[in-house]
Symmetry: C2
DNA sequence: CTGAAAGCGCTTACAG
DNA sequence: CTGAAAGCGCTTACAG
């Protein structure tokens, strides 16, 4: 059970621990004969030696770990793409990305008792107190503090809704509803999106839009009937899943999409393209976001400022549902 | 930049490092006056002290980290549920779960140079050499080795396909096709599923089923026409996304589902319930899987054997598409 | 009730 | 070209 240490390797190979360290780390400038190197490597492999990450980190004063804190969001292709790209880019610098699924169960501060990362990457804004604590502990922080500038975070959500409503207005609609998600974890996004819908309706002189929670797993028949009765002719949905439930509701209510009711989603999920009718949606290319995240992390590690968030490249993909 | 250490706290508080450690760790049996405790805590907070995880781990000989290795699969609700439950259960033991998105970019062995987990949890079987290396380094391993018994892993995939085909046969179908995924990351699952379809067709005396890759993001019109021409009356799809593309293909080809073509998916995704027609699918309740995983990890940490995999609770959810 | 000291396993100046 | 020694920051017997 007691692990093999570098001292064991040194003893077995008949050299000093210094030499073992030089060989196994390929320390530049270390002059060790090729024969010795080979002997040390063989011995280490034979004994199944694995260096202690804790000792290494303690001695060097820094680790090769970057922890990415994932809020309690449903994961999917977007989060995957962000993490995959980050993992690849940091691997080139010899760094490993480890993801922490942050849930209410434990305070973030406890995590630093268990692991010392070089940097912490937040996908959502951190509480300001956590940011202070991390910085004080010598951990670089990428991502915004809650109080500071979470507005950029919310604004991009807001803007997706603006695109939806502007598209519907272009199509001639004058009475729009917002179909929001019933997933509590997405409450914050839902609120920002609804604000976008509401603001745009106001700016275009449309009536204040109703906001209705729509489950993704059953046809939104009642909601559709109610909208129709109110004279609503177009629905901006929280995402494609919700939009699909609205399409099903329209079908069940005997309404024709887009003639009786137009529907626009968000995400451009594969299912949007094979819906009946094919779903108009807002696509957010993920590559620029992934590159921005990775670039920001590298910049912070190098002591630079993170670059500004790129212009939001979201766009409407027009299909048959509007 | 130089972090605050426990020695700094001790000096500032006018006590020894021993006392600081006792107070901050609430060491049982340590008799420190309440006044001193309070003073130490205040001082630590004032200085912004954060203990060094590396030193702590080195000294105690074990860390409070469990690393979960995630293969290159698309993430989604199932993986989320597994990780969330594991995170919660281990949090009660004072352990943190960190997830490593394993990609080709770096060898698993390099990871142990950067972090020393108490245990490693694999969702897919590990290469046997990695398992040996981890065990030798004193890391507990939960999950199977590739060579050992990856059959249990593939078998559950196989069985999903059996359920699909048996259901179609019950509905009177005698000629079945398999619509597989085009996602390369799922190749292994696709192969196991096709084997299930093929074996079941053979066992039921049906002709050998064609296997056709179907993209989830466009109507599978050509595939549907070709199946229809061959006399295929039912399709087992890799998952609901693929099944939705088959439904769209049938629509485009002018075929009626389920009269001209029956379709059954896997996953019971929300979109399956709002499809036109509503999609018959195979549901895998995720709770038993999540509990089994968490139980296995706890068992291994306690030095017991992991419990056997629970009886596969997958079942067919019959809707309008078959 | 509190402190001095050892030691976890490594890396890296430094001396030979 | 190689080795003896210091020290990273902690925890924990042990001595007072």
């Amino acid at each position: 059970m007691a692990s093999v240490t570098s001292a064991d390797v040194a003893r077995a190979a008949g050299v000093s621990r210094t030499t073992v360290s030089y060989v196994l780390n390929d320390t530049p400038g270390a002059s060790v004969s090729e024969a010795t190197r080979e002997h040390v490597r063989t011995t280490a492999a034979r004994l199944g030696y694995a260096p202690s990450a804790a000792a290494r980190t303690l001695r060097r004063g820094r680790s090769d770990l970057v922890v990415c804190v994932l809020p309690d969001w449903p994961t999917g292709p977007v989060v995957d793409a962000l993490l995959d790209h980050l993992t690849d880019v940091l691997a080139e610098r010899g760094l490993f990305v480890l993801v922490h699924h942050h849930r209410g169960s434990r305070a973030l501060a406890d995590l630093w008792r268990a692991v010392t990362p070089r940097a912490v990457v937040g996908l959502a804004p951190f509480p300001a107190a956590d940011v202070r604590a991390m910085r004080q502990a010598g951990i670089e922080v990428v991502g915004t503090a809650e109080s500071a500038d979470s507005s950029a975070f919310d604004r991009s959500q807001h803007d997706l809704a603006v695109l939806q409503v502007d598209h519907l207005v272009t199509r001639g609609h004058r009475s729009v509803a917002f179909a929001t998600t019933t997933d509590d974890r997405l409450r914050r996004f839902g609120a920002a999106r609804f604000a976008g819908v509401r603001d745009t309706c106001a700016a275009r002189g449309l009536p204040g839009p109703p906001q209705v929670p729509v489950r993704a797993d059953e046809p939104a028949t009642e909601a559709v009937r109610s909208w129709h009765a109110q004279g609503v002719t177009a629905v901006a949905a929280y995402n494609d899943e919700v939009a699909l439930a609205v399409l099903a509701g329209a079908r069940a209510a005997g309404l024709i999409v887009p003639d009786d009711l137009a529907v626009v989603g968000v995400d451009d999920a594969p299912a949007a393209r094979v819906a009946a009718p094919a779903l108009t949606t807002v696509a957010q290319p993920v590559t620029p976001q992934a590159e921005h995240l990775a670039t920001s992390v590298l910049a912070v590690l190098d002591g630079h400022e993170a670059p500004p968030w790129p212009d939001d490249p979201a766009r409407v993909v027009v299909r048959a549902s509007t």
